[in-house]
């Protein structure tokens, strides 16, 4: 019995070591480092092969191809994005990054996607308009544009104040689990993300027809870094001209939302 136990544990150990060591990867050299939240499909996420991809990251890749740069995709914790950018560990934030409300905080590229903040509810919740949310618990990602909208005087603060509670969370998976479990009644988020989530989860959820606002995405560079911003922007224009930009928008189902000409 004892021997059997030892053998079993030994086998386990060997098996784990084997999977772990075959999995060990290597590192790239550094040139143009894009910071993004890897839990933000379809803009930036990890694909089935374990590589980071998404609309924004593929655009960044094309920009690097044009410029002859090496792209480094650096996932970041979204709460730490300013620290990461200011301290130089990333060159820009490129990840469905809302300009509105942050105009003066970054060196912005031209807007390239028209986005809206929307509310997602359970299909059978009986909530059909924004006014139905009065007294309800609404989830919103920490440090997100949706949170800004709901707490900004010029945005939807009045609506935000009518909620019973504004519940901040870290990632959308947790938020949807809370919505399913009934601890929140609705979630505020970007429309592109909402569509991806609903596609993955079936028609249990709906997006309210009334949107919270209309806003735009851009690429955020460190304040004062106009040189890099201009280079990336000109490359982006080139991608628009040669059709690559629209091709990618189509691939990620964002054709209706791109606003870059």
């Amino acid at each position: 019995m004892k021997l059997f136990k030892k053998l079993a544990l030994g086998a386990l150990a060997v098996g784990m070591m084997a999977t772990v060591f075959t999995g060990c990867g290597k590192k790239d050299s550094k040139t143009f480092t894009v910071g993004f939240d890897a839990e933000y499909p379809p803009y930036g996420y990890m694909d089935e092969n374990g590589d980071y991809t998404g609309f924004d990251l593929e655009l960044a890749e094309e920009v690097c191809k044009l410029k002859g740069w090496t792209l480094v995709k650096q996932p970041i914790a979204w709460d730490n994005k300013d620290n990461e950018l200011n301290s130089g560990s990333i060159d820009c934030i490129w990840n469905g990054f809302t300009i509105n409300g942050r105009e003066d905080d970054y060196e912005w590229s031209v807007p390239y996607v028209d986005n809206s903040q929307v509310i997602v509810v359970k299909a059978d919740s009986g909530i059909t308009s924004l006014s139905d949310l009065a007294g309800k618990t609404v989830g919103v990602q920490a440090a997100s544009a949706a949170l800004d909208v709901l707490t900004d005087e010029e945005g939807q603060k009045a609506l935000g104040d009518s909620f019973g509670k504004l519940q901040e969370f870290g990632d959308y998976n947790t938020a949807f689990a809370e919505l399913m479990a009934g601890s929140v009644d609705a979630i505020a988020m970007d429309i592109g993300v909402a569509m991806y989530q609903i596609e993955g989860r079936g028609d249990e959820f709906v997006i309210l027809a009334e949107h919270l606002n209309a806003e735009q995405y851009g690429i955020g560079f460190k304040k004062g870094n106009t040189e890099l911003k201009d280079e990336v922007e000109s490359a982006l224009r080139e991608l628009k001209k040669n059709g690559k930009f629209d091709e990618l928008a189509e691939k990620y189902g964002l054709s209706d939302m791109v606003c870059f000409e």
Binding site: M16, G50, A77, N80, D171
Partner: protein
């Protein structure tokens, strides 16, 4: 995506988690001994400084400490921190665990009866001989269960590296969960941690058996 691909990706993350685990143990265990000596120093100033070091590191969340270590070179000195992410994680974990290990060592050292020191003195042992030949071997035996506890905690604590977006297993599990809109990766991650800790517990039990030569 297929289950095997997910397993492989999580295994890749486990590799990084184990790297944090191994390096942290490597640095924090000797460093802890140093801190312990400082803490037990007869010089009030020295023991006060180390006591403060321990109280801060034990009294604040590790996640916060990681962020402080990672970002302080920029905010204090304005240095760009391009490749500092991984070293920062190791430094953060090592000093935090050194504080805990220091207190565990102290508990072991203080458990040795004073009579042994007196006996050693009569037998003409020097101070360092007394510590390394008589006290320390006994200390190891005494503290082993507490150390095992700490090591097992460390395995799970490696997941806190997600706060600096280091691609260890928990971070990857979160990303797979986001892409596939499911909770399955978390269950697999839990299994990985559990199996690894089974191994840790097994190895430590062997150590204990080996050291129980008087029973």
């Amino acid at each position: 995506m297929s289950f095997s691909v997910m397993l492989e990706q999580l295994a890749q993350g486990m590799c990084k988690s184990m790297l944090i685990f191994g390096l942290t143990l490597l640095f924090s265990m000797p460093l802890g001994l140093l801190v312990c000596f400082g803490r037990m120093s007869k010089n009030r100033l020295v023991s006060g400084i180390f006591g403060f070091f321990i109280s801060v590191l034990r009294g604040t969340p590790l996640m916060l400490q990681l962020m402080v270590v990672y970002f302080f070179p920029y905010y204090l000195f304005g240095i760009s921190i391009g490749n500092w992410r991984f070293p920062a994680i190791i430094v953060g974990f090592s000093i935090n665990y050194a504080a805990y290990f220091a207190e565990i060592y102290r508990s072991g050292i203080e458990a040795i009866p004073k009579g042994q020191y007196e006996a050693a003195q009569i037998l003409d042992y020097s101070k360092s001989q007394t510590f390394f030949k008589i006290v320390f071997p006994q200390v190891i035996k005494i503290i082993l269960p507490a150390v095992t506890n700490e090591i097992i905690t460390l395995v799970k604590d490696t997941s806190l590296a997600f706060s600096l977006a280091y691609m260890e297993m928990f971070t990857i599990a979160k990303q797979i969960a986001a892409r596939d809109t499911t909770f399955v990766p978390y269950i697999v991650a839990a299994l990985f941690y559990y199996i690894f800790n089974l191994l840790v517990a097994f190895v430590m039990r062997q150590f204990e058996k080996k050291l129980s030569y008087y029973n």
